[in-house]
Amino acid sequence: MHSVVCIKQVPDSAQIRVHPVTNTIMRQGVPAIVNPYDLFALEEALRLKDQFGGTVTVVCMGPPMAEAALRKCLSFGADDAILVSDRAFAGSDTLATSYALSATIRKIMEDMPVDLIFTGKQTIDGDTAQVGPGIAKRLGYQLLTYVSRIVDLDVANKEIQVERRAEGGVQLIKTSTPCLITMLEGTNEMRFGDLDDLFRAARHELKVWDREAAGIDAVEMIGLKGSPTVVSKVFAPRPRSKRAEMIEVRDSEPKNLAVTLLAKLFTQHPKLEQEIAKRAV
């Protein structure tokens, strides 16, 4: 069993602030983390390894500092880590990113066949959920998105059964490996890595591949050149023209505030009164 887990390093968006004057993201001091959705993918791969043995390789495309994200994954129990890093990747959209990652995975396969590829549902920065499907299509792998549970895996016969979240229900799906799984959030809980893994993660010789090492000759497929989408403008949302109309009564008794609000609501929005009367019990 060999699983490849794709992880992205993202800014911890809970701590992102936008500069009020220049409308740019203030990244200084914002910690970078492993995309939280990717941890569900990693944990699932580690569970399969617990059960069937084998290897878990984590892959990340990003700047040199993304090494920290990969080491984090090693500390959870991943066996090997590859950082794909090259200035030529800068500005990649999802099409170019899936190209670079699929080339990397092909290169990994030259050393060891890959049975399963895992990605997260989406990232918290780009947030497109497009990279997983892109990798699967480029490799000709079966694509299983929004997987909530791996029901059964038959390694010898290359068969897998999963539950997939669909609109209005759950699909029970059977397919062949190798395939690509995007794991739904909340489906498992990331383990605490043990002390051995922590030491190993710190010492591990991480592989860093540039464009050529990742087996990419076609420079026109990556970076800005390989990206059909172009960001033409970044701007702040328009504030609503008016602040809320504040309901105030001199005594600020809850009862009087409530009655005043109702009177305002129903005179200014008569339809709302009918709407409420219609449904209220």
Binding site: I16, I25, K137, T145, G168, L172, E245, A277, A280
Partner: protein, 360 residues
Amino acid sequence: MSEQAKKPAKKKVALDPRFVDYRHVWVVVESERGEVHPVSWELLGEGRKLADALGVELCGVVICGPGERGRGICGEAFQYGADKCYLVQDEVLRDYRNDPYTKALTDLVNRYQPEVLMLGATTLGRDLAGSVATTLGTGLVADCTELVIDIETRNLAATRPTFGGSLLCTIMTQRHRPQMATVRPRVMAMPEASAGRQGEIVEVLFSMIETSIVTKVLEFIPDDTRDKPNLPFADIIVAGGRGLRSQENFQHVWDLARVLGAEVGASRPVVQAGWAELDRQVGQSGKTVRPKLYIAAGISGAIQHRVGMDGADVIVAINSDPNAPIFDFAHYGIVGNATAILPALTEAFKAHLAQAKKTG
């Protein structure tokens, strides 16, 4: 529409010669077991505006199994603004599966060459859109909140929130066709259906045999929706936030909701604390809602919450902090303790409704 479509655009544009044959705006009408996902109608409403701006037709794409109301769905699509529908029906398309659906849609695009292709950002739409865009080698903009045509270049300017809505960015696919975009449910307004509006159905044959498809759907287990909240389509929502401080206090939200016949919504910390189910979370990582009335109690109005409820017609905010950001975009505000004001509101509505009933 089709006559107008053949007329040259008013402004002389040097359109890339590779693009000349790409015309018309397409919307994938998503259906499962004959049921259409409402986001498809919302997209047709938006698509109508784009098609009119470009002077082209608006076309629906209906992919389904035989006997799954294919023609009926096309008929509904015409009422919501489509001029034409491409209908692909085949036994292998009965359940959604990535491979056959990707092939069906990619074949259609290659044959009829739309300039804009839109899908709902649902589990089906995101799965399919990402696969089709990769197969076609074109650009795909995710979760757009605003779509505008740049008439001169016929480019689609697709705006989407970034970093949880604190900024917006406009993305264009200038060098490729079709230009693809997904939009989340409830982000665009539902158009009015105009009864009797007709259109043309183009049935397209699909040839893929079951034995060539690796993935099999063994079973579909429908969600038990009996007691499930349906926030995205609720007309009235009473939502509570961390300011309520405890599960017991959160009960005041339920009490008001009951009197109003409303759904209960929640901010993320409330869901994380376990006071409300995940299905009730409103915001960036929860549901997008468009009610006629949204009452927010003890919610600060963080951008990640705001992006999910900004589309409400009337927003009432109750917060003890007069400087809470929610007052910047609510329509009515009450500064005070929500645990005291919610019960007062419940009583006031109750009294008002009883009075209204009496007087008829």
